[in-house]
Symmetry: C2
């Protein structure tokens, strides 16, 4: 949140045109970017090849370059930085906000890191070292450290003067925390609280007590959910002794939630999370992340061939049975994916907890029976109607229809049940319920669906076709 000179916003259409212009004509980039706010400029630069991107940013004044590097949406920040002269890279790093700087330094190659870090002021070097000790997806790994600390015993007007003095030195701060001598959190304040309070009151009279805080090792998703739940603009990050280390803001939380959403969706789609945008993920790593789960699913799905093998004699006697296999098993898969999706999301939002499994199971038994009866009836009608006009299902069409009807009820019920219960089981075992649940359910139901179908067929058609 560095101050920048006022720039007007652009419509998405204009931005799109500018991106295309710059893509075909990279030397116009600096001029275009000069008119844009940093988040828009970042999008334009993301479209450029690395060399052009570095060249463009190197022609900007340092404070504009800093604003760009403070944008998490600017891709390849560490690679662009490494293209600059060391002095310029160091100048930009020193001015960046602490959280984004740590993020960039973390990705720099070790060799380059060793060259550039000694050029930074010692206080900045120490801060980077301090922040890099936290894993990148924890509260400590995403926090900023530029907050204002005040003591509980000064007056409101003293605090206001302190803030005025500090603000002139550093451009961005978000939060004001009241700490005791050990650095432990006593309370929180907003600038507005101070402005409205009686200037002669002491801080401990006007501060908000028991502020919500997070531990530095808490997972970033937990931090984001806490900010969202309690409608906070920022949450202080404390160590095990309750000392304030920094804070995480709500706009970081938004970024975290968008990132986690992407991971969830990719896991549900049956693949490893990419961690990078689709277009910039190297093709090889894209394929590797997809191949893993595809192979696992393929190996499990091989059981369908085994299952079908058990019923080879039945198929040979009544080839017509084979025709409906894809229809039957895909219905089980679809209803299973639906149920899995619903429950995974409800678990993630806390609408459903582990101890609700029994309620969910009852609801899903009823849903599965109803949905199965609907699909089964349509399936029966299809066989009946075709048999009126053609002879494709032979004289025993009625029994084939009944087989389809009963199998669909069984398969859809089974799909719904396994789809809704698997997320509970995964969560109980300590796994992320989103992990490939939907495709995994589909595979499970494919195999069992075949068994259900041919068992029903053996029962209904015994003495007729079989």
């Amino acid at each position: 949140m560095v101050e920048q000179k006022a720039k007007s916003t652009v419509t998405p259409e204009l931005l799109d045109r500018l991106r295309m212009q710059v893509r075909s004509n990279p030397q116009t980039a600096t001029e275009v970017i000069d008119q844009l706010k940093a988040p828009d400029a970042a999008e334009v630069i993301n479209d450029l090849p690395l060399e052009d991107a570095a060249l463009t940013i190197s022609m900007l004044p340092v404070e504009e370059a800093v604003a760009l590097f403070n944008e998490p949406s600017l891709e390849r920040r560490h690679e662009i930085l490494a293209k600059f002269e060391l002095e310029r890279a160091a100048a930009i790093l020193s001015e960046m906000s602490s959280d984004e700087r740590a993020d960039v330094v973390r990705r720099l190659e070790m060799k380059y890191r060793e060259q550039v870090l000694p050029l930074l002021p010692e206080s900045v070097q120490n801060e980077i070292k301090f922040l890099l000790q936290f894993p990148p997806t924890t509260a400590g790994g995403i926090m900023s450290t530029e907050f204002i600390r005040i003591g509980p015993d000064i007056s409101v007007s003293e605090a206001l003067n302190h803030i005025r003095a500090v603000s002139k030195r550093r451009l961005h701060f978000y939060s004001i925390y009241v700490l005791d001598e050990d650095g432990s959190l006593l309370g929180a304040l907003s600038v507005r609280d101070l402005l409205v309070a009686n200037p002669h009151s002491s801080i401990k009279q006007v501060m908000r007590r028991y502020p919500i805080s997070v531990n530095c090792m808490d997972d970033q998703e937990l931090v984001a959910r806490k900010l969202a739940k309690y409608n906070l603009l920022a949450v202080p990050v404390v160590d095990d002794k309750g000392r304030v280390l920094g804070y995480v803001t709500v706009d970081d939380a938004l970024d975290v939630l968008v990132e986690e959403h992407t991971e969830d969706v990719q896991k549900m789609g049956g693949m490893e999370a990419l961690d990078e945008p689709y277009m910039t993920t190297p093709l090889f790593s894209l394929i590797r992340k997809r191949a893993g789960w595809l192979v696992v699913l393929f190996l499990s799905e091989m059981l369908t061939a085994t299952a079908m093998g058990y019923f080879e004699d039945e198929i040979a006697k009544a080839v017509v049975l084979a025709l409906f296999v894809p229809l039957i098993i895909s219905s089980g898969g679809n209803s299973g994916s639906q149920a899995a999706t619903l429950i995974i999301r409800a678990l993630a939002l806390g609408e459903v907890t582990l101890r609700d499994w029994w309620v969910v199971m009852r609801r899903e038994i009823f849903s599965g029976l109803t949905l199965g009866t609907i699909l089964g009836s349509i399936g029966f009608l299809r066989v009946a109607m075709w048999s009126v006009f053609t002879d494709v299902y032979g004289p025993h069409w009625l029994f084939i229809g009944v087989t389809i009807f009963l199998s669909l009820i069984g398969v859809v019920l089974w799909g719904t049940l396994s789809g809704s219960m698997l997320p509970f089981i995964l969560k109980k075992l300590g796994f992320d319920p989103a992990t490939s649940s939907a495709p995994f359910v589909a595979t499970l139901v494919d195999v069992t669906g075949i068994v259900i179908y041919f068992t029903v067929a053996a029962f209904v058609l015994s003495g007729k076709l079989l």
Copy 2:
């Protein structure tokens, strides 16, 4: 953001225990809630039957009840309110924040609404009427109206005094906007900007020009993305003439994104979006929302039976072919779902735009060929290895293996291509790409997969098994 008396936070485990205690013992609810912050209290109340929930809240002081009703996470707000005496309901409504109040009133039954609204102060009545004219998912439908308006020509110290005076009357404001005489937006300011500025400067010298704004009819998701992209705490909402009507805050944006995420996930899982938590959605409506897509998918999947029917003679001659049908078509479905998931998400995040379709297609052709070759090789190995030890695939096992190998390459390539291109086509046609793309692709690939498989088989096995 109403001020409340300081309350400590609870751990999720303690909250869970309290929820269970209150569930089994509703008369302890008031006592438990009294110790909790409003978002935690809302969760406890959500677990109670409607009558108990209303009784519990009715025993709280008005300001505590208001804090609860300001929580969007409190479910059934309009139903609970309707259980209160009219005077109490009116007292709570008058004190609520404007955006949450509009949300509650919108859901009240018309008859009750007509009884309670006349008891509110006229200014509040007018404001409700004003907010209700906007559709609920637009910027106007989610905005708050409590902002501070100042003119451009007053001094910083005059502005500070004005804010102090206004703050004492209303408890919650977020933003300060600089308006001209017509109410048009000239600039924005934070309390911090004012505090740090020279007290004798005029507002127009210190305000931030060209603030980002949204139109009152903009969709809420667009508003949320704008707040996230530009790292804003709040964005002003203007009408077509540029006059400021209110503002949307970043915590509203968080709620909107979580809601849209849920809808996306449910659509990708092949069902209509629920709009309500899983547990409180009536079973009938849950089944209805699932049945629609299941039936559509079932009807399309019936084409598999038709497709299989064309190859009935081949199956009769070589029953062994039927055994591999589920394996082949599910591999196409899985790779198609993966590709669809990836592209839908990349489109939603703006990492990929419509004009990138050609780049994506090239990448996906290569990915599809590679993934298909991997799965095909595994499939061939399976046939080869089984044939060493058993006679299940007969003397022509080599040709069966080659059929499986080639079919898998074709089916996976086709799945990957259709999965990646369908979202582009849906978006180009103006539909939401998330709409059931994954299950739809799976169904499409099932049908075409059968055709690919048997065509390859006819070619490779002609003169041997067929």
